[in-house]
Structures are given as structure tokens and as C-alpha cells.
């Protein structure tokens, strides 16, 4: 298969992710985070990123931990039971190393959707009366200095249609148009048509809101394999700038019908992340010390990779020891 969009991950990151970029990554807590790409960003030492996320756990925490992120707009920084609050995120926020702007999950989703739709904002009732509206993380100066940021965090507006819909007032959430979005999917064609299996989260809105889109996938397949069931595809090819085959590209997070999250990795990560010296070792040994994602998978070893292989009936690793 040939296509000018197919490239290896190091080239895709080098071409489309620059220091200081506004970036968003797909997935949710411990599922389908584009981890191969996250680790490649860390390896290339790209910093000063302005990161948008709704509830991305592992990917967000590792980018923050490695010092790649200077500003974060987020709804939730956690990795389920493995880290109810992401550890490096918590530490960076408490030590003042990271400027954080909080939204809710729906607000962030609508913000990506507005960006994807080409409108400046969308309305919702979520957050009326709360500090999400009252308290701002970014200073007015920060907002004014970056033309990619709106001057206001959120706006409350009386319903311009009177009480139509029995809603007197709405919150307006500003659109997001990242410089680049990175998502990991199960299948892509050579020109970028992509298929997500299981829950899509907000990946489709994130993908379509971005100036550039990198799609990493478990497997690049023939275009006809995807076009035989077009109703199962979510991303049209012309949205995609780079197609990267990255087997286990969401590891250590899960990829439905392919593999589960790795409880051993996530539990170990919690230990490393809780201690600065251990964390530096972790970064050196598992991320910077390997050539690429295949190198990390090799380090983890076949036994553990086999343990998380998805059962074909359920789509996850049935009976996996997750303690």
C-alpha cells in the first residue's frame, strides 16, 4: 500500500507537532490514549505545549510528567481506580508548574464540536451557578497574549428566544481549534479513512476541530476493507494528514477488541509517578531509553502482552488479574 500520508511516527510528530503548539489527544482515562505518539513527543523533547483534554488520564499525565506541557484545559485528570487523580498532573498543579483551566466533560466536548462545526461557541445548561464559570485559571494577560485563546473562559447569556425550550439562561462555551489532534484507532486506510471500534469518546469532534490530524492505528488496511462497511467508519480521509501504523499504539491503555489496559504497568506507573527520582528512572528506562514504541513493547515482554490480549467475544481480556 502506498500513500504520501503513510509515515513512521517519528516523522509524523516531527512534521506536525511543534514546541508551543495547541494540541489535543483522543481517548479517555485508561482507554485508547494515543500513547505511542505521547511517548514519541516525550522522546523528541517537544515542550511548551498547550494541551486540551476532556478526561484523558494516562496520556495527559505522562506528557505533564515529562515536562512537555505548560498549559492545560481539562475536565478530569484521572485514570480510574489506578489513579483517581493523575499523580504528575496533581503534583504539577500544586507546585505551580502548570496553568490549569477547568471545564466539564460536556463543555469540553461541545468546545471541540464547535471547532469542528466552524461556529465560535455552543450553548449548554451545564455549570450555571458554579465556580467553573466564576473562577478562571488563565489570567486575562495570558489570554490576550495568545491569539489562539478567546478572551473569556465562559459566558452566561439569557435565552435570546425568551423562555423557549423552558430554558431561561445558557452557558456559552468557546470553540477549540487545536493546531494538531492525535488519535489512536483500530483501523485506517492508506489515505486516512478511519474506524474506531467500541466507544468513540470525543475523538471524532477532536479530530475534525484540528488544523492537522495524526491518526495512529493498530493496522493499516486496504481502502476496500473499510469501504465495504462505510457506516462503521467515522473519520473521512481528507481530514487526515498522517497515517501511522502503530501496533499496541494505545498501550498501556486499552484498545477495544485488540487488548486491555495493562494493570501491571498502571500500578507500577503509580509507584514511579509518586517519587521524583523513581519517575526520572522510569522516563529514562521505559521511554527515552527505547528507540520507539516497539522497543517499549519488547521491554514489557510477550508474556504480559499476551495476558492483555482481547477475548474475541467480549473485546477485553476476560479474567485478567486487575488488582
Amino acid at each position: 500500500m502506498k500513500s504520501e500520508k503513510i509515515m513512521d511516527l517519528s516523522e509524523a510528530i516531527r512534521r506536525f507537532v511543534k514546541p508551543g503548539d495547541h494540541i489535543s489527544i483522543g481517548g479517555f482515562t485508561l482507554n485508547r490514549n494515543p500513547m505511542a505518539a505521547v511517548y514519541e513527543i516525550i522522546r523528541q523533547g517537544i515542550d511548551g505545549l498547550h494541551l486540551y483534554a476532556h478526561s484523558n488520564g494516562q496520556g495527559v499525565d505522562e506528557l505533564i510528567g515529562a515536562g512537555c506541557v505548560s498549559r492545560l484545559e481539562i475536565a478530569y485528570g484521572g485514570t480510574g481506580r489506578f489513579a483517581p487523580t493523575c499523580i504528575r498532573f496533581k503534583k504539577a498543579a500544586q507546585e505551580g508548574l502548570l496553568a490549569v483551566e477547568d471545564y466539564s466533560n460536556y463543555q469540553m466536548t461541545l468546545r471541540f464540536m464547535a471547532g469542528a462545526m466552524g461556529v465560535p461557541f455552543l450553548p449548554t445548561r451545564s455549570g450555571l451557578g458554579t465556580d467553573l464559570i466564576e473562577k478562571w485559571g488563565f489570567s486575562p494577560e495570558t489570554r490576550a497574549a495568545d491569539p489562539r485563546l478567546p478572551n473569556d473562559k465562559l459566558k452566561v447569556m439569557d435565552n435570546p428566544f425568551g423562555n423557549w425550550g423552558d430554558v431561561p439562561r445558557v452557558v456559552l462555551v468557546p470553540a477549540i481549534n487545536p493546531d494538531v489532534t492525535i488519535i489512536h484507532v483500530q483501523k485506517s486506510g492508506p489515505k486516512g479513512t478511519s474506524r474506531i471500534e467500541g466507544l468513540p469518546f470525543s475523538d471524532v469532534e477532536q479530530a475534525k476541530s484540528a488544523r492537522h490530524l495524526i491518526v495512529t492505528c493498530e493496522k493499516i488496511v486496504e481502502t476496500d476493507d473499510l469501504r465495504d462497511a462505510p457506516e462503521s467508519n467515522q473519520i473521512p480521509f481528507f481530514c487526515v494528514d498522517a497515517v501511522v501504523e502503530a501496533p499496541h499504539g494505545a498501550y498501556p491503555t486499552a484498545c477495544y477488541r485488540h487488548y486491555d489496559y495493562d494493570p501491571v504497568y498502571l500500578n507500577d506507573y503509580r509507584k514511579y509517578a509518586s517519587d521524583d527520582a523513581l519517575y526520572a528512572d522510569y522516563l529514562q528506562r521505559f521511554i527515552r531509553g527505547v528507540k520507539d514504541h516497539a522497543g517499549l513493547i519488547g521491554l514489557i515482554g510477550q508474556e504480559r502482552i499476551k495476558a492483555i490480549a482481547a477475548d474475541p467475544r467480549t473485546g477485553y481480556a476476560t479474567g485478567l488479574d486487575r488488582k
Binding site: F28, T29, L30, N31, R32, H54, S55, I74, A75, Y76, G77, G78, T79, G80, R81, F82, T85, C86, K90, A93, Q94, V100, D102, S104, N105, Y106, T109, L110, R125, S126, G127, L128, G129, T130, D131, L132, K135, G137, V156, V167, R169, V170, G198, L199, P200, F201, S202, V204, E205, A254, Y256, Y261, P263, A310, T314, G315, Y316, T318, G319, R322
Partner: protein, 256 residues
């Protein structure tokens, strides 16, 4: 009487709050097990629904997060986040949704903080943030809240209001633009069940767990709370415990 743990008691108390036909918005952990238990006990037609978009998942194993691949198996629909929250904001379907959530701090009106302790820009303690909590609390008909019963968590004033409860009392939700007839219904703690007065919207003590005195609960609540009508909460039955241990969480991932 059956032997049971505190977490099992809390789970069963929450499960009893779920009515047949409810669409239950679940978070991670104990709320998920409560929703699973309710389906086996008193609410067989309730629907488990996750903010990630999974509707009526067949939970053969306990999920460790709302994005766990276990929630994606054998659902009615695997929707997106946009679909999930629209279902709650929708004026027809939203009324059927009950939300189960937790927080780091709660105030007398059931407003919740899951964002920071201390100053917002320079937090002493940073938590995960809203996730879908603010959305759920803004939209759905009623919410059930899990809390650890400690003075520093039951506070007169929150450090940050992430999710709206009854705001500052009667009529306040309507004035803010939210629905006046939806809001927090019960707070389930490690000591007691609290509810909200229909007139004042303030929290009161409804039930004490077996062996826990009213005084101890009042002492661990950081604001004034009416305890005059409190009764003892019924402990879980053998049948309820069997369902929890054998059908909901046999590996003890959440309750163990």
C-alpha cells in the same frame, strides 16, 4: 444477623435508592457496584449508563473506570460523550436519569467540590476536576452522593463549587437557570444517610448506620445539621450480600 463490611452496607444503601426504570448514570467504584446490585435486587428494569456513551452495558466483570473496555460489551448503543450528555440534558430522557457521584467536599445544600482545596490558581490540593459531575448535577432529575463523613469534607463553604446542588437554598437553581425540581436527593456516607429538607433545601440526618450514634455523626459534620428525626438504617440482608459478593464483584476489586 449477617456479617458485612462498611463498603457493602454503603453499596446496598445506595442500591435501595435506585427505582425500577431509572436510567442510572454511574461513576467508577462503589457507585457502579450499587447500580449493578440494584438491577439484581429491586430495579430489574433500571439501565446502567456511563458518561462515556455506553448504554445498558452487559457487565460480566467490574469496570475499573467509566472508559474500561468492559463497559463497551453488549450495549444497546455505544455512543459518544456528546450523545451521553445530551441524553441527560434532553428534556424527556433527562428526567429519567439518576446520577450517582462523589466529591472531596460537600456543603449544607449538597453543592460539591471535586476540583481543589485552597486557592484555585495555587491549590494546596488538586483533585481530578469535574469530569462529567458538573454536567450530571446540572441536568438530571436527582443525584445520590457518596461521601466520607469527616468535618473537613462536610463544610459550611466549599473551596470551589464544581457541581451544583441546591446552590444557596430554595429557588436558587431556578434563578441560576437550572431546573428547580431537580437536585441532590441523598448523601450516603460511611456513617449515615442524609437527605435535603423540601422547604429549606438544607441537609438533615435521616438514618444512622447500626452502632453509630447521632452525636458522632453531628460531631463529624462541619455545619449545623438537624438530627432530630434520625432512625437506624436497616443492615443488608443475606440475600443482598450474596448478590454483591457472587454476582457483582466476585473478585473483590471494588468492595474487597
Amino acid at each position: 444477623m449477617a456479617d458485612y463490611t462498611l463498603r457493602e452496607l454503603m453499596t446496598i444503601v445506595a442500591a435501595r435508592e435506585i427505582r425500577d426504570g431509572d436510567i442510572v448514570f454511574c461513576g467508577t467504584g462503589i457507585s457502579m457496584v450499587a447500580a449493578m446490585a440494584a438491577k439484581h435486587i429491586s430495579a430489574p428494569n433500571s439501565v446502567i449508563f456511563f458518561e462515556t456513551g455506553a448504554i445498558d452495558s452487559k457487565l460480566e466483570e467490574v469496570p475499573m473506570a467509566v472508559a474500561d473496555p468492559r463497559v463497551m460489551f453488549h450495549t444497546s448503543v455505544n455512543g459518544s460523550l456528546a450523545d451521553a450528555f445530551a441524553t441527560m440534558q434532553n428534556r424527556f430522557t433527562g428526567k429519567k436519569v439518576v446520577g450517582v457521584m462523589g466529591a472531596a467536599q460537600i456543603d449544607p445544600y449538597g453543592n460539591l467540590n471535586s476540583t481543589v482545596i485552597g486557592d484555585y490558581r495555587q491549590p494546596r490540593v488538586r483533585f481530578s476536576g469535574s469530569g462529567g459531575a458538573c454536567d450530571v448535577a446540572s441536568f438530571v432529575s436527582r443525584t445520590i452522593i457518596f461521601m466520607q463523613h469527616e468535618k473537613r469534607k462536610f463544610v459550611q463553604k466549599l473551596d470551589y463549587m464544581t457541581s451544583p446542588g441546591w446552590l444557596d437554598g430554595p429557588g436558587a437553581r431556578g434563578r441560576a437557570g437550572l431546573s428547580d425540581d431537580s437536585g441532590p436527593a441523598a448523601v450516603i456516607t460511611n456513617m449515615a444517610v442524609m437527605r435535603f429538607d423540601s422547604h429549606t433545601k438544607r441537609m438533615y440526618l435521616e438514618g444512622c448506620y447500626p452502632g453509630i450514634s447521632k452525636e458522632k455523626i453531628v460531631e463529624n459534620t462541619g455545619f449545623e445539621v438537624d438530627a432530630s428525626h434520625a432512625e437506624e438504617v436497616a443492615p443488608p440482608t443475606e440475600a443482598e450480600l450474596r448478590i454483591l459478593r457472587e454476582r457483582c464483584d466476585p473478585q473483590g476489586l471494588i468492595l474487597g
